[in-house]
Amino acid sequence: MNQDPDRIALHARDVAFDWSALPLHWIPGEPFATHLLDVLHLLLPEGERWFVRLFSDALPLVRDPQLAEDVRGFIGQEAMHAVSHQGVLDHLATAGIDTGPYVGRIEWVFREALGDRGLDGLAAQEWLVERVALVAAIEHLTAFLGQWVLEASELDRAHADPTMLDLLRWHGAEEVEHRSVAHDLYVHLDGRYLRRVRNLAIAAPMLVRLWAHGVAFLLSRDPEPRRARWRDLARAARLGLCPPLGTMLRCVVAYLRPDYHPSRHGSTDAAVAYLASSPAARAADGSAGAV
């Protein structure tokens, strides 16, 4: 049931998570894997708020009402992702981990290096289209990660914190659900192959670099500080607590195909099924119904 003629109507879900009982190492006995995934909370809110600003700025350029509707749904979902990860970030602060130095750099990347740069007119528009292509490349990677976390039963077997798993899988499911929007927007605004793939060449190394710094940062601020080691990454991968490297490389290669379309990767069914059982998403639907 995967070859979709279905056009899912995207909408944001009013989720809420309670972190008061979250242990610092929420994958018990796995500080490295915990911090590897914790980087998401440091990296994503700023990135997602950047998506929201960019896509809101891109809306006036969209001349396809159906795509505009998709973009609006995407914006709301990303805004809720930012709020939800920010909640974990705030919890880390109360747990005594000051993420300021790392987050400050992420802010600089998205607000200055990838910000509006004081442009106007056609230059501003061109820089906007370029960054939409960058978002499309990032979204290809996040959809891949979302699909992985939906299927990673190893996290359940490792007794990862259920609320954290719900956050990651709700987020992952929405990434899968809206995985075509950024690509469709880029194709509508430009669509040229070279511009599309050169932005993956920026996005993938940039994310790997920021991620590596984030893990090293969190490990150094752990109550039992330690260094990030390759063998810890290999262990996490072997235990299935992070995506396997081979699959990640195949994911990057898939983006290079001239006929690439996100709908051919990942499973809307898995996303829809998870969202129907996610405690947070179900509670959010309940509150929407009660309005």
Binding site: P65, W127, V129, L189, R209
Partner: protein, 330 residues
């Protein structure tokens, strides 16, 4: 904020390349998504339910859809209404909808005669049918419309399914008679002395289905709430998301858009967002229920109520003026 030299170098290089790329970029082309359809047949599915068949005037294929999808109909009066597709997704030449006469919009649909031309948009799916080991479909009255194609899809795929159709009386249970009666429980209130005990009904039906079966529910909000309470956590419950609730008990007010230099009137029964959109069609918004924060704008003067935005700003989609006038940074 802390500077990142490498990011700065890459960002600057990307910008230079972007500006060069722009010289040969073709601007976005307009896409017309309107479907111009003709009502080809009208039949009474139940005493107050009209079943309409819609097709292109030239009989050409329509966009494909999957069970759970809905169509936006632009009614002759300009009203926009959403109706679930209740026909067969394999029939590419026509769409079918079934509409109960309830209020202004549905009364207008009931007035559409064969041969009438009508504009539609979509289809879109806010209620997708995802693979499951079994399905329990719970329909309240006209809520059967998205579920009937789902039940047929489950039957065609050989997946176990049950459908319970509730309503006031037998006349309020359209479409379900055409489904395989071995899987269908019709439960009119008047024959059972009132509405069903939802928790017991759900438990009893799920017991007859494989473990991990998904519940799909479509009906009036109180029924969906009851089902939500009855389906245990960890089970899949799918219900359709409807448009945001209408504005109730609002007062009219005026919004001044400081940067645009325009003033718009917000009627008592519409949101500030609706009103602002008439002047600024690309104003950012998303959830239209006050929580996602996309439409929050800086408030330059005036006080708001029902506002979910931080002090000093306003959630255009839900907030209203405490007085008669607001000034916004738009």
């Amino acid at each position: 904020m802390k500077e990142d030299r490498l990011a700065e170098v890459i960002g600057s290089a990307a910008l230079r390349i972007a500006l060069r790329s722009g010289r040969r970029r073709r601007p976005a082309q307009p896409v017309d998504r309107d479907l111009r359809l003709t009502v080809t047949a009208v039949r009474a599915e139940a005493p107050d339910v009209a079943g309409l068949t819609l097709a292109r005037p030239d009989g050409a294929d329509l966009p494909a859809w999957r069970p759970g999808a809905h169509l936006d109909l632009v009614l002759p009066s300009g009203l926009l209404r959403q109706y679930s597709l209740c026909g067969d997704p394999d029939d590419r030449a026509s769409y079918r909808i079934a509409v109960r006469r309830l209020a202004t919009g549905s009364a207008e649909v009931h007035g559409l005669a064969p041969g009438t031309e009508i504009t539609a948009r979509g289809p879109r799916n806010a209620f997708p049918l995802a693979a499951a080991p079994g399905y329990l479909f719970l329909a309240g009255g006209i809520g059967i419309t998205p579920l009937a194609p789902m039940a047929r899809a489950a039957a065609a795929a050989g997946v176990p399914w049950r459908l319970v159709h509730t309503g006031r009386d037998r006349a309020s249970l359209p479409l379900s008679a055409a489904l395989d009666p071995a899987h269908v429980l019709l439960r009119p209130d008047d024959e059972h002395g009132g509405p069903p005990p939802v928790a017991a009904l759900v438990a009893e039906q799920l017991a007859a289905l494989p473990r991990g079966s998904a519940v799909y529910c479509c009906g009036p909000p109180p029924m969906i709430d009851a089902v939500r309470r009855a389906v245990p956590a960890g089970h899949r419950l799918h219900s359709e998301r409807f448009s945001p609730p209408p504005v109730r008990g609002g007062r009219a007010f005026t919004v001044e858009l400081a940067r645009t230099g325009r003033t718009v009137d917000v009627p008592a029964d519409r949101s500030a967002l609706d009103a602002v959109q008439t002047v600024l069609p690309a104003v950012p918004y998303s959830c239209r229920q006050g929580f996602c924060g996309t439409c929050h704008v800086r408030l330059l003067a005036g006080r708001t109520e029902r506002d979910t935005a931080a002090p000093g700003s306003m959630a255009l989609c839900v907030a209203r003026a405490e007085g008669d006038r607001l000034v916004l940074d738009l």
